[in-house]
Amino acid sequence: MRWPACLIFGYITLGVQAGLARYLAIGSASPNFVVLMVIFIAMNAPRDAALLAAFGLGMFQDVLSQQPLGLCALSYGLVAMVVVGLQQVVYRRHPLTHFSLALFSSLLTMMVIVLHIVIRGPRLWSPIPSLFYSSLYTAVLAPIVLGLLGAISGAFAFQSSRRRT
């Protein structure tokens, strides 16, 4: 994997998330472009690079949020571990794969956030429905965003798994 490309696109994704996501919100549900970037990298990159990139993206998303540092890093690390494990068994370019992986990943992230609410508080359950709707919204956008990223995947110079082995 070409790390400079990964850094540049990661930087842009985080900027998009901070600058644009609020205007794309439907009600209280806003899309999470960073989780889609994590899925894209985890689907295509070698295992170690994918895990490291996912963790880094999560850490920087935490920096751009009021939430404690490490929450997204932990979530995306877990997401990447699962998605990397599925690399060989999913059809990477199929929209249904994108939708289901995005839904799963967003829900996993949501579960980590809910766990954080339960353990550290404040125990407010009102944001949970919006987290769920955001997960759905992100999953719906996934085929479009991952499709676009797939079209420029050459910039990342991902190696196919056969070449790697």
Binding site: L14, G15, V16, G19, L20, Y23
Partner: protein
């Protein structure tokens, strides 16, 4: 061997993230966040401007014209100016009341604006919380805890400030707490508008996330205040600067019963979507105000 080594490193990072998120104090991570959040401004800021422009084209913000509800004036500019004037008037009245109590009249009376500096909003919270990223930093004199205002009222307080940027924790963020009272715009027989405080003591308002705040009061208090939908919530908290007393925070969105008999839950929403603000005013000249007050005494 290197494979094993990477696993160890990754496991270590995940453990560190787990500890930072679930064990360590959030204030520790906020110090780190304040130093680096501004590095995304070159992308976030232009996208935010484009997003705001597109959003205003598709769904322009409707300012409620309280001054003339039956025949709204045509110019948005006029409405906003009118709104600002009313905020200033209410604000001055609140200050006067408090100042009379403290017997320090004259010295500190004034609009909150002279004590504020405008800062552009670079972006909103990248996670699930209610916050805004500002273009300012500690180099511009910003410090944690400074109040943040907009034309619509109180926005929040600065929560993570560093050389790399500053973040505003919005009043609706979960766990944000302050005291407030109810007020209502009333048209007098002579056509002038009054903004009296409704009967009752200050009550605690809690941020609930997603742009919502909540207050819990007794049925008796609700009846005594004759509380209705669209009544205003105004700041009445001694932990905030005096100059912000009776500054508005939001409107009563709904009044709901609770499981506990004798209590009602007041759902409050800001007058505008705080996460879509393009510019905010940070009250970073508070010290000068206090010094002026001291010299006046």
């Amino acid at each position: 061997m290197s494979y094993l080594r990477f696993n160890h490193v990754f496991f270590g990072l995940m453990t560190l993230a787990l500890l930072a998120a679930f064990v360590f104090s959030p204030t520790a991570s906020q110090r780190v966040q304040g130093q680096v959040q501004g590095i995304f401004a070159p992308v976030a800021w232009p996208l935010s401007k484009i997003g705001a422009w597109a959003h205003n084209r598709v769904a322009p913000r409707q300012v409620v014209d309280d001054g003339s509800p039956s025949s709204p004036r045509s110019s948005d500019e006029l409405r906003r100016e009118n709104e600002d004037l009313r905020i200033s008037l209410r604000n001055l009245r609140g200050q006067l009341e408090r100042l009379a109590e403290l017997e320090t009249q004259r010295s500190m009376v004034g609009d909150a604006r002279p004590f504020c500096t405008p800062f552009s909003v670079v972006g909103s919270d990248a996670g699930h919380r209610d916050s805004l990223l500002l273009s300012g930093s500690s180099l511009a004199g910003l410090r944690e805890g400074m109040p943040v205002l907009s034309a619509g009222g109180i926005v929040g307080r600065l929560s993570a400030v560093g050389v790399g940027g500053a973040r505003v924790r919005l009043v609706s963020d979960p766990g944000f707490r302050f005291e407030a009272r109810f007020a209502r715009l009333v048209r007098q027989p002579d056509g002038t508008l009054d903004f009296p405080l409704l009967p009752g003591e200050s009550q605690v308002v809690d941020g609930r996330g997603d742009g919502v705040m909540m207050m819990r009061i007794t049925e008796k208090e609700k009846i005594a205040a004759d509380l209705r939908k669209d009544d205003w919530i105004v700041l009445s908290d001694r932990d905030w600067p005096l100059v912000l007393t009776n500054y508005r925070v939001g409107r009563v969105d709904s009044i709901l019963p609770t499981r506990d008999p004798g209590f009602v839950q007041i759902i409050i929403k800001p007058d505008q979507n705080l996460e879509q603000l393009e510019e905010v005013m940070v009250m970073n000249k508070e010290k000068r105000n206090e010094q002026q007050g001291a010299s006046g005494e």
